[in-house]
Amino acid sequence: MRKLLFESVFRQPLTEPAPSPDDAAVAELAAALGQAARRKLGRSLSIREVDAGSCNGCELEIHALNNAYYDVERFGLRFVASPRHADVLMVTGPVTKNMREALERTYHATPNPKWVVAVGDCARNGGCFAGSYAVVGGVSEVVPVDLHIPGCPPAPTAMLQGLLALLERADTGAATS
């Protein structure tokens, strides 16, 4: 274990490797995001993730935001355990009828001001599950949505871009209250 720890100390951080265009873009995006979050919300933006019927693909990519490549925590973006700690709800999935109430209750448990980000194609309008007897449809059928990040699932970079766009918008006063 000590060996591994030492290696980690001397190894180049993964977040700043010899910049391939892709990685450079991520770092740049994340830096912009960090500055924007700080300007608008002080030091941090707390996000509560809600799976309202997803296939879990969106969750996998949201998870990836926390890995050492994207490491969103370094910019004050944190995933929190309770809606009561959250500024942003990130909602995935075609909202299922069985999850509708849980989503509503989570939304109401989130203090104002709050933003809702619908993540993934399903979250826009139900995606390929639209029209099922078991599905309500997009997230905006149940709670007001401030931003939609398309993709099936959206890649982590697309989510970073989306969060940045949200912060830009928050500045113009588009927050739900």
Partner: protein, 503 residues
């Protein structure tokens, strides 16, 4: 002792004679099959309904023979299998919720997927209006001095899928866990009805996000069996490549996540990096990080991209370089072992009874891996081991995954070095009026089963069965007598699918 073949001779053959027969039987043969399941001579692979028929897929564990038996139930009832063989219970409750066919004298007739929110009952059967006020869900009782209940979910504290867990605990010790699932039920069986194969495979690939390759693979193979279609060699190998990449990514992610639940975040960070490298390689080679929509009936929708093979090879080399140190770290960290050894033990008899697939079965002595047991191409020509342990605890499930990572690395090497040239997809014929097919494919979590019937090229009925159906109930069993704080470890080491189960 009758063999499965004898049983199928009792019935009337129906449908295509795919790799496995399907026979229509009467109630006495149906009940006989249920009692054989109960005696452990056969394993239950699936149980599903149609508007007036129930089907049961069975495997003979000794010979790996498989058959589907079907029972007509014009009076909307069928003899309960769950009465004899508990693994069938949740499946029977589902058949009732979706089709309105009831399992006679079942010990558990509560609803399962239907939470009385669909505004319709039996959506795939007789469709009647939902009850205005359904009775609240009755959790099973646990009584005794000083017991208390802890209700968790459906919305959990982490970034995970929704489901409800009802713990009854005595102090810190769990005396009963009861799950309530169905929150992410999207009605996939219903959406499949009348769909084209192209839409069908799209839906199949979105049944459980972490197994998108496995589902599309199983669906496509079932369709190809139905249509008598042989896919090009290159596609056969590419599919296995995709499946192994998916397995690799998931195992790496899970090994780290299990350690994370024991507050050992260093492993999580390193495993997360390796997982990301697999996703990036998948993205570079196939244009999608999760490799979604690549496997389709007839072959694969895209060939490996320029430089894709080299990217994958570089990723393999990097994992070979870094992974052994992580395994050593896991093996040598007493505080971690303290949490995983002897925690959440699944006994081999219980794993056998539930025909638990994947690493859950293999960590509890069940040497079942469809890649080996059913040896579908190209696995019939590739070298790999199926690791098996008997301890059945969290630690054993971690080690099975570690060994499977190593096997997948070797399989990917073999596939890349033997990848045949040629076309990657064949045109899918419309087929005759009615065609049936079934396929079972080894996803990272275990055996994914797809049965479908086509009529004039459109899907008349498609049933998809996630391995989690037979793994979720075992999680209830293994948590007993463990402390509440060890639940995340048990849960993560199982990593059952919610969406794949709820469908």
């Amino acid at each position: 002792m009758p063999s499965l073949i004898d049983l199928t001779l009792e019935g009337r053959k129906v449908g295509q004679y795919g790799p496995w027969p399907r026979v229509a039987v009467d109630a006495s043969v149906w009940t006989f099959a249920a009692s054989e399941l109960a005696h452990g001579r056969w394993s239950l692979l699936g149980l599903w309904g149609e508007s007036a028929t129930v089907h049961m897929a069975i495997m003979d564990g000794q010979t790996a023979e498989i058959a589907v038996v079907s029972l007509e139930c014009p009076d909307r009832k069928f003899p309960s299998v769950g009465k004899h063989h508990p693994p069938a219970l949740r499946l029977e409750r589902t058949i009732h919720d979706l089709f309105g066919l009831s399992a006679e004298s079942s010990p558990d007739a509560r609803r399962w997927l239907d939470h009385n929110r669909w505004s319709v009952r039996f959506p795939l059967g007789g469709r009647i209006d939902a009850l205005p006020n359904a009775a609240p869900y009755r959790f099973l009782a646990a009584e005794g001095d000083g017991l208390h209940q802890i209700a968790v979910g459906p919305v959990h504290a982490g970034i995970i899928e929704p489901g409800h867990f009802r713990f009854t605990a005595s102090g810190e010790t769990v005396v009963r866990l009861e799950q309530r699932l169905g929150y992410v039920h999207k009605g996939i069986d219903g959406l499949m009805t009348g769909a084209s194969l192209a839409r069908g495979v799209q839906l199949a690939g979105r049944t459980s996000g972490d197994s998108t390759v496995a589902y599309a693979y199983a669906f496509s193979r079932a369709a190809e069996v139905a249509l008598d279609l042989a896919v090009p060699d290159r596609a056969v190998f590419l599919r296995a490549l995709l499946a192994e990449l998916e397995r690799l990514a998931n195992h790496l992610g899970d090994i780290g996540a299990i350690c994370n639940d024991a507050s050992f975040t260093l492993m999580h960070a390193h495993c997360g990096v390796l997982r990301e490298s697999v996703l990036r390689a998948g993205g570079a080679a196939f244009g999608h990080r999760l490799m979604r929509d690549v496997v389709v009936p007839g072959g694969v929708s895209r060939d490996i991209g320029n430089g894709g093979a080299e990217t994958i090879q570089a990723m393999l080399d990097n994992i070979r370089l870094r992974f052994p140190a992580l395994v050593e770290l896991y093996d040598n960290t007493a505080s971690l072992q303290d949490r995983t050894v002897d925690t959440g033990t699944l006994t081999p008899p219980l794993a056998r009874q539930y025909a638990a697939g994947g690493y859950i079965g293999r960590a509890s002595g069940r040497a079942f891996d469809t890649r080996r047991t059913l040896a579908y191409p190209p696995y019939d020509s590739l070298r790999f081991d199926v690791p098996v342990l008997n301890e059945g605890d969290v630690n054993a499930r971690v080690w099975i995954r570690v060994r499977e990572v190593e096997q997948s690395l070797s399989l990917i090497d073999q596939i890349l070095s033997r990848l045949p040239e040629g076309p990657t997809c064949k045109e899918v014929p419309l087929g005759g009026e009615v065609r049936e097919g079934m396929a079972i494919v080894e996803g990272f979590r275990g055996d994914v089963l797809v049965w479908l019937r086509l009529r004039n090229g459109l899907i008349e009925r498609c049933h998809i069965r996630d391995p989690s159906w037979f793994q979720w109930p075992l999680l209830e069993a293994v948590i007993e007598n463990n402390i509440v704080a060890d639940f995340p470890l048990c849960n993560k080491s199982f990593n059952c699918s919610y969406s794949g189960h709820d469908l």
